[in-house]
């Protein structure tokens, strides 16, 4: 079975470490915050200028001056700080964020990522995504492995305009956990009940299969 959105978030959460500063993109990455392991402290960075993002506010707590990068009302966790946008991206570009999780339309064997524009269809802008992929060393891309019509999104060459070049090393799809190195995809884990053959069929770019591909555990 392909992973649900929640399961993708749960698997990403296994990569968290105590004391990590983490930037979570909009969509599935945001859900990762719900699965931080017990007893572990992580601090969420929101690129509009907040380190230490808390949960959504109650009706009484709502504050128009306190939002996240998705423009949702939020609260501040204990020990939070706020700062301007240049400072926020100094943290990001300067490599101070320990883990970045974001979505994508396509990735390819050279670590290129396309996530911000579909010419003629979706032209909303890159927001902070280009800075995030250029600045972070430890990035996990979460995405569906293929389109609804079975067209692979793990490609030899991205077809859409790039968000970043050669910057992605790890991809978690609904079918597999994949590493990118030396111009190839490497299959690390598969979703429970998903066969290696199924993953091969839906991966356009060259995929290296080790002798044993463990199933993900939750």
């Amino acid at each position: 079975m392909a992973l649900t959105r929640e399961q993708i978030a749960m698997r990403v959460a296994q990569e968290l470490q105590d004391g990590y500063y983490v930037n979570l993109g909009i969509g599935i990455p945001t859900l990762v915050a719900n699965y931080v392991p017990d007893g572990m402290e992580v601090m969420l960075q929101s690129e509009n200028g907040l380190l230490g993002m808390g949960q959504f506010p109650t009706e009484e707590e709502i504050d128009a001056d306190l939002i996240n990068a998705g423009k949702q009302t939020v609260t501040m966790a204990t020990g939070a700080s706020v700062f301007d946008s240049a400072e926020s991206f100094a943290m990001i570009r300067g490599g101070h964020v320990d883990l970045t999780v974001l979505g994508a339309f396509e990735v390819d064997v050279n670590g290129n990522i396309a996530s911000y524009m579909i010419p003629g269809k979706l032209i909303k802008g890159m927001g902070g995504a280009m800075d995030l992929v250029a600045g972070a060393d430890n990035i996990i891309v979460t995405m569906t492995h293929a389109s609804k019509h079975g067209v692979s999104k793990l490609l030899n060459n991205c077809s859409l305009p790039l968000t970043g070049k050669g910057c992605i090393k790890r991809v978690l799809t609904d079918l597999a956990f994949i590493e990118i190195k030396e111009g190839k995809f490497h299959l690390i884990e598969r979703a429970p009940g998903v066969s290696v053959e199924e993953i091969i069929k839906l991966t356009e770019g060259e995929l290296v299969i080790p002798a044993h591909v463990p199933e993900m555990t939750f």
Binding site: N48, G49, F56, T58, I62, D65
Partner: protein, 236 residues
């Protein structure tokens, strides 16, 4: 008004000298921390052909979006513009020129513009459409592109509190691009929720020193919320 007193008495006065085809740098992230009354004054004034530099362009009926129906904006430099139907229509029809700029690069362009730095190298956007036509250079094995600073004829800024000398304090994430915009305007106009006397703000807590501020006005704010997300009350 005398000496360092930056307070003006009307929005008209606050934006005196803003003319067609000028460049306006705006603070704000989405609808958070926007100079909503200054934007309304630009609409009332009918200034046209503006180049607007702002992370976003408001929504259809609030924020910078209100300048779209009368085609007051000719060109916008922004990182994300996805909340606005009229914007999309003007962009697709070519009536509005849009320069999509990565958010961190946009912030740094303003910072550099205000700090007397004409350009800077960044890895952001290398190998993407953003890099087209830009100088590239390698430092320590990494590839960078040269991005130029931005300055505005005017900067419009929203802060929380100010003293009459224009020392500013922002509140929570309404800070965002505002301190950067404040440095990058030839004329920087700030609207705030409260103006106090010089000496009343703690010098250690000031985010934008008054040297960057030319005009200051106190306003009332709607502070519209774009995505109202809540959790159930703890004692519910």
């Amino acid at each position: 008004m005398a000496g360092f007193d930056k307070v003006v008495s009307s929005y008209q006065e606050a934006l005196a000298g803003l003319e067609d085809n000028m460049t306006v740098i705006s603070g704000g992230f989405g609808l958070c921390g926007i100079a909503e009354n200054l934007i309304a004054e630009i609409k009332r004034k009918g200034t046209k052909g503006l180049t607007v530099v702002s992370n976003n362009c408001g929504v259809d009926d609030f924020g910078l979006g209100v300048l779209l129906p009368d085609r007051q904006i000719k060109k916008i430099v922004a990182s994300y513009v996805g909340e606005n139907a009229e914007f999309e229509r003007q962009m697709m029809s070519g009536e509005l020129e849009v320069v999509l700029t990565p958010q961190g690069t946009l912030a740094e362009k303003m910072r550099a513009g205000g700090a007397g730095i004409p350009a800077f190298y960044t890895a952001t956007g290398f190998g993407t459409p953003v890099a087209e036509g830009k100088e590239e250079r390698t430092f320590d094995g990494r590839d960078y592109i040269l991005e130029e600073a931005i300055k505005g004829d005017f900067a419009i800024v929203k802060a929380w509190k100010a003293d009459r000398y224009g020392n500013l304090v922002y509140r929570k994430t309404a800070r965002n691009f505002n301190p950067l915009a404040a440095t990058a305007g030839k004329i920087t106009v700030v609207e705030v929720e409260e103006i106090v006397e010089p000496g009343e703000l703690d010098p250690d807590q000031i985010h934008t020193p008054g040297i960057y501020v030319d005009r200051l006005i106190q306003g009332t704010f709607e502070k519209r919320i774009e995505q109202r997300t809540i959790r159930p009350s703890d004692n519910a």
